[in-house]
Symmetry: C2
Subunit: 357 residues, 2 copies
C-alpha cells in the first residue's frame, strides 16, 4: 500500500459542529486501478478529481456498485468500524452480478483501516456522529461498446455524518413503479438501482409522501424494500421482514436488527409481507409499527402509509414502546462502544496502522 499524504490538508478548517453531510470530504481517499486482468497497488492519496473521459464505460453502461458504511469515535477517541466484513462480502456479490472484478481484502478492509486511521481527526464525536464511508467500483475504460469493461477503479471516499434525528415520515405503497425485476439486480448495490428510484420517489413526494414502499413488480401484492432501506413491520408484538432474495438487498442493519430482536426475545418472522395482510392489520388495529432500516439513518419510522389513494395513519409509540427505537438504541450503543458487543461486530481501527504493517 502506498500512502501519499496531502500537502494541503483541510482538516484545520473543518468545523464538526457546522458541516454539510455528503458534500464535505475528508482529506484523503483510497484508489486502486484494475487493468490487464489484475488490480494494481492500493494507494491512499489526497481526495480530489481524477481525469475521466465522457466515454468512460461506467457512465455509459453502468458497471458501478458501492457500499455504505460508517466509522464511529467513542468518548475516549477510539475509532471503530461496524461489521466491515459484511460490506466486503456484499460489494463482491454486487460486482459479480455486474460482471466486474472482485476486490481483495487488502484493498477493501486494508484500505478502509488505512484511510480511517489517517483521517481519524475528521470523525466527529458525540451522539449520532460518525464518518460515512463509501467504497465503490466503476468501469473506467474509454470505449463505446456495450460489453464488459477491461479497466476499473476501486475507490473509498468519506464524509463526516451528523446525528440526523429523522422525523417520522409518510410512505406510499407502490402500485405501479418497481425497483427490481425477477432475475434482475435488485439485491446488488448497483448504481442504476438508485437512479431508477428517483423519479417514482419524486412523484410520491408530489403526492405528499417522503418515500415509497416498493412492492414486487409482477403483482404489487408483496413488500420488498422501503426507499433505499429494508422494511420492518410489527403486528401485535411480532416483527416481520421479507426474506432477502435476488430482488431485496441483504442489509447489514437489517441483519443486525434481526439478531438484536432475537436477543431481546422479540418474535421475528422473516417471511413475505402481503400488502393485504398489512392493510387488514392497520384496519383492525393490530399494526403497531412500520419502519425502514439502513446504514445512513439507522431507522426511519413511518407515521402514515398511502395505499390506493388513502392515507392510513399509524400508532404513535413512545421510545420505550417502540421496537424500532429500542432496537435502534441497542444497535447504536454497540456501534459507538457504549455497550458490550457480544456479537463481535465492532472492529477497532488501530492507530498508525500503516507503520505496523
Amino acid at each position: 500500500m502506498i500512502i501519499q499524504k496531502s500537502t494541503n490538508p483541510r482538516i484545520s478548517s473543518f468545523d464538526p459542529n457546522n458541516f454539510a453531510f455528503g458534500n464535505t470530504f475528508i482529506d484523503h481517499m483510497v484508489i486502486c486501478e484494475y487493468e490487464n486482468g489484475k488490480w494494481g497497488e492500493v494507494k491512499v492519496v489526497p481526495y480530489g478529481p481524477l481525469p475521466f473521459s465522457p466515454a468512460m464505460m461506467g457512465v455509459n453502461y453502468g458497471q458501478a456498485c458501492f457500499e455504505g458504511m460508517k466509522a464511529y469515535k467513542d468518548k475516549d477517541g477510539q475509532v471503530f468500524l461496524f461489521r466491515p466484513e459484511k460490506n466486503f462480502a456484499r460489494i463482491n456479490k454486487s460486482a459479480e452480478r455486474l460482471a466486474m472484478p472482485a476486490v481483495t481484502e487488502e484493498m477493501f478492509i486494508g484500505g478502509l483501516k488505512a484511510l480511517v486511521d489517517l483521517d481519524r481527526a475528521w470523525i466527529p464525536e458525540g451522539e449520532g456522529m460518525s464518518l460515512y464511508i463509501r467504497p465503490l467500483i466503476f468501469a473506467t475504460e474509454e470505449a463505446l461498446k456495450a460489453r464488459i469493461a477491461n479497466k476499473y477503479l476501486f475507490a473509498i471516499v468519506a464524509t463526516p455524518a451528523k446525528s440526523y434525528y429523522t422525523a417520522p415520515v409518510s410512505v406510499k405503497i407502490s402500485d405501479y413503479y418497481s425497483r427490481s425485476a425477477n432475475g434482475g439486480v435488485g439485491f446488488a448495490k448497483a448504481a442504476g438501482n438508485y437512479a431508477a428510484s428517483f423519479y417514482p420517489t419524486q412523484l410520491a413526494n408530489e403526492e405528499g409522501y417522503e418515500q415509497i414502499i416498493w412492492t414486487d413488480d409482477s403483482t404489487h401484492e408483496y413488500f420488498e424494500e422501503s426507499g433505499t432501506m429494508n422494511v420492518f413491520v410489527r403486528i401485535n408484538d411480532t416483527i416481520y421482514t421479507p426474506p432477502t432474495s435476488e430482488k431485496i438487498l441483504d442489509g447489514v442493519t437489517r441483519d443486525s436488527f434481526l439478531q438484536l430482536a432475537k436477543r431481546r426475545g422479540i418474535e421475528v418472522k422473516v417471511e413475505p409481507i402481503a400488502v393485504k395482510t398489512f392493510i387488514d392489520a392497520q384496519r383492525n388495529g393490530t399494526l403497531k409499527e412500520v419502519w425502514g432500516v439502513g446504514t445512513a439513518v439507522v431507522t426511519s419510522v413511518f407515521q402514515s402509509v398511502g395505499y390506493n389513494g388513502e392515507k392510513l395513519e399509524l400508532p404513535r409509540l413512545s421510545n420505550e414502546e417502540s421496537f424500532a427505537l429500542t432496537l435502534q438504541k441497542d444497535l447504536v450503543d454497540i456501534q459507538t462502544n457504549q455497550a458490550e458487543d457480544p456479537f463481535g461486530w465492532r472492529v477497532l481501527v488501530e492507530k498508525n496502522v500503516m507503520e505496523t504493517v
Copy 2:
C-alpha cells in the same frame, strides 16, 4: 455555441482502413454543463478527459443515459445523420425517467451537426462505414447522498465505425434472468440496463450462445428484446415484433424496419410474441427467420435458438429470400444516400455549420 478547435489534431494519423471501433475517438467532443437549474453554453472542445471525483453521483447512483446514432458519408463526400430527431426525443424520455434535466434542441441537434461537420474528415467512406455517435447525460455532482443530483454533463463523443458483417449468431431464450421490471426503466437507454445484462450474457456465452433473447420477468413466456436490440420474428411471410412498452426500447431501427416492411407490402404484426408460439412454429417449420435490429449492427441474424436446454436450428435463407437482409439493404441504402428517401429520414450536415449560424 463555443468552438475550441484542437491544436493537436490526430486526424492525420487516422487510417480509415485500420482502426479499432469503439476505442478510436475523433478529435473533438461536445460538452455542456448543467448547474443551478440550467444548462450552460454548448461547447465543442478537443476530445479528452475531464476532472471527476470518485464521489461523482453518476457512478454512485447511476443517473446516466445515452443515445447511439450514426453519420454516413456518401460517394460525393456529403455527410448525413439519420432521423436524429428520434434520438433527441428519446434521450429526453430516458432523462425524465431517471429524473435528469431535458436537453435542448440546440444542445443535441445543434451539437451533433457542429461536431460532425468539424470532424467530417473522420467519417470513413465505403460500404458499411460510418461514424458512431454517442450523446450522453450523466450526473457530475460530488455528493454521497442518494438523491437527484444538481449537476450534470451532456456530452457527445464519437468513434469511426467499420462495416461489420456479422455472422449469424446463436441466441438463448432467457428462462431466469431478465433485463427489465414492470414499472421499471427498461424502455430507457439507462446506463444501468446494460451493466445488468452483462453477467447473464456471459453465462449464455459459456453455454455457447452469443446473445440472450430477453423475456418478461414475471413469466418468461413473452419475448422482449434480444441482446441490446429489438427482436423480429418471421412466421411464414408475416413479421412479428413486440409492441414497445415501459419494458421495451422504442428503437429507431425497429421503427424504420416496420415502415420499410409496410412499403414492401410485407405483413407486419406488432403484438406480443409468446415463446410457445415461437417454439411451435420452429417445430412445424413455419418459423422462417429471427433477427435483432439496432443502430450499431443494423441487423443480427440468428441461426439457432436455445430453449430449455435444446438448441433449435433455424432455416438458412439467401439474401433474396431473407426479409431481414432485404430490409437491412433498404435501410442502409437510404442512410448512405444510395436510394431515394421518401420518408425524409436523412438529414444533411451542412459544411461550416458554425460560420453560418
